[in-house]
Amino acid sequence: MLKILKYSFYDLIRSRWSYAYFLFYLALGFVLLFLNNDVSKAVITLMNVIIVLVPLIGTIFGVMYYYNSKEFTELLLAQPVKRSSIFLGQYLGVAGSLLLSLVLGLGIPFVLYGIFRSDAIFDFSLLLVTGAFLTLIFTAFSFNIALSNENRIKGFGYAILLWLFLAVIYDGLFLMSLIIFEEYPLDTFSLLATMTNPIDLSRTLILLKLDISALLGYTGAVFKQFFGTNLGFLVSMSMLVLWTVLPIWRLVYRSKKKDF
């Protein structure tokens, strides 16, 4: 698996897209930090960008990579390598190169700005950790979609739809249900609804760590009570891990049964 990982990683970090992705974060980081001069605000703006962009890029990149390397995967399948190694290797190669762009692109401006001397280091690391989780989760989603759809137009379509649903539509539905059922106690419901969407989960985690939950009103207080504690933090982190592990497990399972 490590060999496959190594080569698909090499292949990807040399692609123009990885550079573009890296340069985008680099530029964003510099602009936000040096024009704004406020780390906390920069982290919030970055969060808003990361929460939407990382899943989108992870999904598109994963689907694109899978379909583009289809023939090559066939060549690998004929080699004495286990199937699970091939797909895990490729998956980690894609996720790894995206992660590298994210971490370096944001890391460099923050380090130059002096993040290590600031007390926002924890917020910033949390931002990177959730960004990492979102990359892993959505790349795994995209590999699952691509593996289940021979037709690449359909695959792309489903991938975009999934992103659109989790990043935009889900929140809309969530909000609407809160309005419709406002007569009822909704604490548990909103906690659960947040847990079942990795994007919302990441957003809530960061927002609450940034101590601006007062903005969220009563729900914010409930959330703060839950996510703010160590238990809540642990539970949400394990949810993120679960969100990562489940699609990876399905990827391995599905790849074993597929015909190429």
Binding site: Y7, S15, E71, F72, A78, P80, V81
Partner: protein, 235 residues
């Protein structure tokens, strides 16, 4: 060497292989022929473990290939479509496959045989289709495995490379290897193959030498014999 029993494969409702029985003892060039959609590629891919059969068994060297991947160490495969990760250089790709297989290899000889030296440092997405096919050939021929499976080896090759390829295939046969080849170029098959395996509607319809085929169909030349076998009533 290869033993296939009662092999069935369906893709959705489309039955591609319906009870293939095939035993190959080893040594020689076997051409797998058949009209489009007769299941040639599916048969090859089943042998390679890329397609999971619905029913039946395949063993290679007396060992079943089910849930087994180590047997592929003894197979060299040339896929039909040569498409590689675009950002890798030819050299790196060769190194990667060598790295995966961990076997002694003869890529220098093959690279000079197909005149690929000037391309070694080029990225794969800059190569033409024919050059990619040559790289594909190098990858397939550089290991010394007892079984070789070549899917349309001639596609996109220029005449010089074609002659080299034929020499190469003959050399491999001399070493006592088993080669399974599919091709739509009958001239190539006639020149190279020792035995014909003809697939029709998911079964092996004919198996034998070129002479047997001509006698059976009463056709003087090979191309017509192949055409006649599919419709025996007219023969």
């Amino acid at each position: 060497m290869i033993q296939i029993e009662n092999l069935h494969k369906k893709f959705r409702r489309n039955e591609v292989l319906s009870g293939v029985e095939l035993g190959i003892k080893g040594g020689g060039i076997f051409a797998i022929l058949g009209p489009n959609g007769s299941g040639k590629t599916t048969l090859i891919k089943s042998i390679l473990g890329m397609v999971v059969p619905n029913k039946g068994s395949i063993s290679i060297g007396a060992k079943s290939i089910k849930n087994n991947w180590k047997y592929r160490r003894n197979i060299d495969y040339l896929p039909q479509i040569a498409n590689f990760p675009g950002n890798l250089k030819v050299k790196e790709l060769i190194r990667m496959i060598k790295d995966l297989r961990q076997r002694p290899s003869t890529e220098e000889k093959l690279v000079s045989l197909f005149a690929l030296d000037p391309f070694l440092d080029k990225k794969l997405n800059t190569l033409s289709g024919g050059t990619k096919q040559k790289v594909n050939l190098v990858l397939a021929f550089m290991f010394d495995s007892p079984l070789m499976i070549l899917d349309e080896p001639t596609s996109g090759l220029d005449p010089v490379a074609m002659i080299r390829l034929k020499e190469l295939i003959r050399e491999e046969k001399q070493k006592g290897k088993t080669l399974l080849i599919t091709s739509h170029i009958m001239q190539f098959v006639e020149e190279m193959a020792d035995e014909i395996i003809y697939l029709l509607e998911g079964r092996i319809y004919f198996r034998g030498t070129m002479e047997e085929l001509k006698t059976k169909t009463q056709q003087p030349d090979f191309e017509h014999a192949i055409a006649a076998i599919a419709s025996p009533a007219d023969a």
